[in-house]
Point group: C2
Chain length 504, copies 2
């Protein structure tokens, strides 16, 4: 038996967790239990399912102190940051509960029988139904919001699917603690066995993705691990959707007008945005276009980075990769070093680093994502240079522009380019601190994600549903939401959208 | 230069079309023009785009006689059937125009800035935007509705994308004629160059799928060709979505009660459903479960099949594959021959065939799809046998059950199984004759399609869109539909769905 270890990144001390890696036969047993629970889960109402999400949220809340404390030891993130993240995670579960009750996510459509130019048409009714057991691979950098109790789990459960999570190797104890809290709450609520389960170890994760009973995979992590899992999926007999949030450089552009109007505020915001959580955020601005001449902003950034204390990175792999990529940006990308990151006193700790390059010199080798507290400042004179340089940057989750309203005309083309190259365009703000809401979109063109999906916001539920149609079905065999007499969810009836009437 | 030939399947006579296969450099030029047109297309309003769809529909209508006549010669389908198909194709374009005007497909969501449990949240607005040039591979069996002017083209255009169609080798002249009608109408309407283009030849199709400017592929055809295109996509640097409608056996189950109540009507309907268009429909019931004892229904089917005239299959490949698969069902699948198909007087013509097997003997080798006028009758005694046998059948676009209301309880489990194994469950009817409407779903679990999508109905537009979010965007830089003052499309505002107010 392999046992799982965990490391405190603040000290690099490793301890045995006592958790055993999940064997292939255990993975198969869990997948079978998940598949068995699916039948029962589907028979429950939306009201029941919203209750399950709320119970799970309350279960996490009831163990807040323990969860934050365990996560602090495994991730090196601050208790304050982890507390906010747990609040967000609980809020997210409750928001999905609201969405399940509201019912618009079902996309219910009723076309009554009637004449068509091709003759009489049958009665056709359609809505979205759950797809089956979902495997969730959480991220290293959000031990709650994008891990065991995170958005993938919440949206898959909300859709009506059982979930099998793969514990992240960087925080196995946090994973287990969060799982235990959720599992206990789900069991007390009456959820069937198999609704929620967890596997440990890389091998178990690969076995899970290959399992014929798994119907979809949600993944937040690196492009390289994402590719490994995609390869497994491509070898499956029955292909399944893989929703991967993979990599993002998140370009940020500051115009000359914005510098003049509020250069200091931008410098402060930018510093916080690229160094918060030691720069380990999917939406960290990794590259910022700053006009030549805006030396004061650069000086502020340099001063703040130089004075900043070392922060722990999440694990040794990230710490080492950060150093290697930063080095490549200098040697191969020819970036100038403005601030050299300093290794801290213990563990995998580092101070922030700043590199600089001219827009004309930007090329593929300067646009590698360094996961950690690093920013590449690109100096430019005309916005046309920015447009050219942007073509060398892989598409991202987000793109940000700071400008003044007097520059509206000049930035129109740039904004169109940023829309094409990202999933969210941010104006006069910062891409970090992703709001969890109905309309949020956290996804972007490849390689930000591998499909046009979001892993944050209510529409994330859409990933774990599939359409199903009923033709001339007897009323009794239709789902409640598609019966004529039911009006408590929004529906499109004979082409006309109708709001919900009455309680759901 | 390779020139394209075409064959009249009624006579097997082949003629040179004079059309040259599109070269790699021509494909690249067309893809570049499509990409260039995308920028201009996006700047047009939804009203403009609805007008484009209607203009294209009118362009096809204006050449109805020519189109039907050309298609008759290349497909062997009857003029009546082709006329109905063209009507459906035109209806479909106009229905998408209605949907574009209605605007619900944009899934517009506005979350105003406000307090959240994690602190102040920014203003986030999200809607769906077009993805870019779409490559469309039409099918052999629907020269209009699933080909050049078909649902993939209509939905991709409706979404705001340029379209590059690959002419089907089985009907190149029809493809060209339909393209010419659409292209002339689009040009007269003022659509930019590159909005619509066409390529000829298998090699050109492969080049198109590999082209970096192509953003998605719509495909209707065989599993084997689908796999070839998927392999090309997996080798691309940037993955793109592939929406394939691939293969479907469409099981149909008749209960004892239904036989007793209306066995004759079911026999008539079933015969028409599996032989219409020479059985070359994606939703043809290829396998029907009939209770032991229902010999009268079988006798009727046998009599009608024996008396039926030979009909031409679409091409030599389908004709040959049909014979080979039918043979395998007999030799390897051990099916009994009730009616042997007879080869007709000329061309690729055949009369219908009927095979029979006991439910307990059904296995993978008996469940291969024979594209053409063939049905496998599966005899059963208890519905439990049907459930077991269904597990050997690949998932399908549709599943059908004929039963009486007195049997409601007995069929509940069966209906659940059919829901899991298909995209549309049909009650007391037949799966062929797919209604084009808002709620239609034409898709199903693998291998019916390779993703949870539909290629018929208004929601087919969703395939060619991606979500995009704007954070704290100045009003002037938002799409019209996301501005506060705009109310002419349905939107979700701060979590609450609002109907459209005022004209769009």
């Amino acid at each position: 038996m392999t046992t799982i270890t965990t490391t405190d990144p603040r000290t690099a001390s490793t301890v045995d967790t006592g958790i055993e890696a999940t064997s292939d036969s255990e993975v198969a047993t869990l997948a079978m239990a998940a598949a068995a629970s699916f039948g029962e889960l589907r028979r429950h109402s939306r009201g029941w399912r919203a209750g399950l999400l709320r119970a799970v949220a309350a279960g996490l809340e009831s163990r807040r102190d323990e969860l934050v404390s365990v996560a602090e030891g495994e991730t090196g993130l601050s208790a304050a940051r982890l507390g906010t993240e747990l609040t967000r995670t609980i809020f997210q579960l409750n928001l999905f509960a609201d969405a399940v009750i509201e019912g618009g996510y079902l996309e219910a459509i009723i076309d009554h029988a009637g004449d068509t130019p091709m003759g009489p048409g049958p009665d056709v009714r359609r809505m979205l139904v759950p797809i089956g057991p979902v495997a969730v691979f959480g991220s290293s950098n959000f031990p709650f919001a994008f891990s065991v109790p995170g958005g993938d789990t919440a949206s898959a459960l909300a859709a009506g699917n059982p979930v099998i999570v793969k514990a992240h190797s960087s925080h196995p104890i946090t994973s287990r603690a969060a799982f235990d809290a959720m599992h206990a709450a789900a069991t007390a609520y009456g959820a069937p066995d198999g609704t929620l389960s967890i596997v440990y170890g890389q091998h178990a994760g690969a076995t899970l993705v290959a399992d014929s009973r798994v119907a979809a995979v949600g993944f937040t992590g690196s492009l390289s691990t994402g590719r490994i899992l995609l390869d497994i999926i491509e070898r499956r007999e029955r292909p399944i959707p893989f929703y991967g949030e993979l990599s993002s450089l998140n370009p940020l552009i500051v115009t000359a007008g914005a510098i003049e109007a509020r250069g200091d505020a931008i410098a402060d915001g930018l510093f916080v945005s690229f160094t918060a959580s030691a720069g380990q955020l999917c939406t960290k601005p990794g590259i910022a276009f700053i006009p030549r001449g805006a030396d004061e902003l650069i000086e502020t950034l340099v001063a703040r980075a130089t004075d900043a204390p070392a922060q722990p990175l999440l694990n040794e792999r990230i710490f080492n990769a950060f150093g290697e990529i930063r080095q490549r940006l200098v040697t191969e990308g020819r970036a100038r070093v403005l601030v050299e990151p300093q290794v801290g006193m213990g563990g995998f700790t580092l101070t922030p680093g700043i590199l600089e390059i001219d827009a004309a010199d930007l090329r593929a080798s300067t646009t590698e994502e360094a996961f950690g507290p690093l920013i590449v400042i690109v100096r430019y004179t005309r916005l046309g240079e920015v447009s050219s340089a942007l073509r060398t940057i892989p598409d991202s989750l987000t793109a940000t522009v700071h400008s003044e309203s007097s520059e509206r005309e000049e930035i129109t083309t740039l904004v169109e380019e940023l829309q094409d190259a990202s999933g969210r365009v941010v104006f006069n703000g910062f891409p970090t601190g992703v709001r969890v809401s109905w309309g949020q979109h956290h996804g972007g063109p490849w390689p930000a994600t591998n499909s046009a999906h979001t892993s944050v916001g209510v529409t994330a539920i859409r990933r774990f549903l599939r359409p199903l149609a009923w033709q001339d079905a007897p009323e009794a065999l239709l789902p409640a939401e598609l019966r004529d007499s039911f009006t408590a969810v929004p529906r499109r009836v004979d082409g006309v959208l109708k709001l919900a009437i009455g309680a759901s």
